[in-house]
């Protein structure tokens, strides 16, 4: 990565440092799901750091049913043309051909996402093979480390997309952050061997957490954020940025909700500012009780 700076080197693209670097620049920001160029412009106007181009927001994917796939390249390109901020797009879990197409389109980040119907029941994409960086979801630390070992450059806690219910995101964040804290407090190497076994994760990544206290890539949060207070909650629990899907364009006043969530992620520790931001936003999206769900998207991925 850093190499020896003995002489001028040729420019290297697609390196780990470059791929993780963009995730670093998205910290403290909001990545918003958009389905049209108009949505993308509203998101950018509200201060989104990035948009996720997809055909339907997760709550509509739930309602619509059927197989959910990568979006039409024409739609992704129209969104790329509409905004100047980075554009992400989703590929099905394990569907490396969709990911190859997304890379050819020049998207800035690929999300190997449980929100779409998985294409492979055992294998995730070999993300080291790509120049474009990948983000993957995780419900626990072991899942996060398996994704990082496959080349993911950003992890987002999965939550339960399309529900407007923050409870799953909280569960996943507490699990990931709590285990990192416990690993950092481990007494000796033998405990780290046991952690690696328990987590079904590579030992070197567990040892890295023991040394640094954190993942080697940024940890963002997704799945269920519907209000500025939700955004503040997940940031206080350790998320470094937020993905908001249905929460914006299923609210009664998307531009206002979008701006408010952007400000809430910045000022997440300041309740007085949050009180002002949260006032008079109209209706948040209608939520779903997770116990009533027939499909739990967070269970997709291995």
């Amino acid at each position: 990565m850093s190499g020896t700076p003995s002489s001028d080197t040729a420019a290297a693209t697609g390196t780990t440092l470059v791929k993780r670097g963009l995730a670093e620049m998205l910290k403290g920001g909001v990545i918003m799901d958009v389905v049209t160029p108009e949505h993308a412009r509203i998101a950018e106007d509200a201060g989104a750091v990035s948009v996720m181009a997809l055909e339907r927001v997760p709550s509509d994917i739930r309602a619509h049913g059927g197989v959910s796939r990568m979006s039409d390249p024409e739609m992704i390109q129209s969104i790329m043309a509409a905004v100047s901020i980075p554009v992400m797009a989703k590929t099905r879990i394990g569907h490396f051909a969709e990911a190859q197409i997304l890379q050819a389109l020049g998207v800035d980040y690929v999300d190997e996402s449980e929100v779409l119907t998985p294409a492979d029941e055992a294998h995730h994409i070999d993300k080291w093979a790509f120049t474009v960086p990948f983000v993957c979801g995780a419900t626990n630390l072991g899942e996060a480390l398996r994704r990082i070992s496959e080349g993911a450059c950003m992890i987002r806690s999965k939550g339960e997309a399309g529900t407007g219910n923050i409870v799953e995101a909280v569960r996943h964040l507490r699990s990931i952050v709590g285990d990192m804290r416990r690993i950092a407090a481990a007494g000796d190497e033998a405990e780290l061997f046991e952690w690696a076994k328990q987590l079904r994760a590579p030992l070197p990544l567990v040892q890295e957490i023991a040394n640094t206290g954190w993942l080697p890539v940024p940890l963002f949060c997704a799945g269920g954020i519907a209000t500025p207070a939700d955004a503040s909650l997940v940031m206080q629990l350790g998320a470094e940025a937020a993905f908001v899907g249905s929460g914006i364009f299923k609210s009664s006043n998307p531009p206002k909700m979008a701006s408010a969530i952007v400000e809430a992620v910045t000022h997440y520790r300041d309740p007085e500012i949050l009180a002002k931001i949260s006032a008079g936003l109209g209706e948040a999206m209608a939520g779903l009780e997770t116990a009533d769900l027939t499909t739990k998207m967070a269970e997709r991925g291995w």
Partner: protein, 190 residues
């Protein structure tokens, strides 16, 4: 006495800057409000999305206090989006994007293309004996350098590190490669 340095923490790569500055032994404050800005001696404006930061500067009531501090000569290091915000002129920005105009340069946003064109390379920096490893993420390019602006480094002929009075601006991310020399020089110059 060591200066108290703020890192603008509205959005972006503020944590990596704070880590390097702390390693160099200075007290670092995250800056999100005008009160916090008033308490520091110098400021780092990190990379991130310049459009987002521009909006948040305004909505957080920081724009005018920041412009005031910059006018009165506060030391500032701007990287990537920070460079864009400090430039006199921005090409390919949003119409409503604020340019603080402290450094007389014209900067083009996302000049290299999308993320797959982002890169790392060694560059020579004036005053450093060995090359500096520079990481360029959807980087801006300096297209015009005004009088009084000193170019400290170039990559393939393009200026990528400039200094103008108390302001140093970089198109790349010195906080990502683990090399503290640019931050150390910034602190020495304060």
């Amino acid at each position: 006495m060591k200066p108290r340095v703020g890192v603008l923490a509205l959005q972006g790569g503020f944590a990596a800057h704070a880590a390097i500055l702390q390693r160099l032994g200075v007290r670092v404050d995250e800056i999100r409000t005008a009160e916090q800005l008033a308490a520091v001696d110098a400021l780092v404006m990190p990379g991130g999305e310049s459009t987002t930061m521009s909006m948040l500067l305004e909505r957080s009531g920081l724009l005018e206090p920041l412009a005031g501090r910059l006018d009165s000569g506060m030391g500032v290091l701007g990287t990537c989006a920070g460079m864009i915000l400090l430039a006199a002129e921005v090409v390919d920005g949003r119409a409503d994007q604020h340019a603080l105009g402290l450094v007389d340069i014209t900067v083009r946003r996302n000049a290299y293309g999308t993320q797959i064109e982002s890169f790392e390379a060694d560059i020579g920096v004036d005053g450093f004996e060995t090359p500096f490893h520079a990481v360029f993420i959807r980087a801006p390019a300096v297209e015009r350098v005004g009088p009084g602006v000193e170019v400290l480094a170039r990559h393939e002929g393009r200026p990528v590190l400039c200094r103008s009075g108390p302001a140093t601006v970089a198109a790349f991310h010195p906080e990502l490669s683990g090399d503290g020399r640019l931050h150390a020089r910034f602190l020495d110059d304060l």
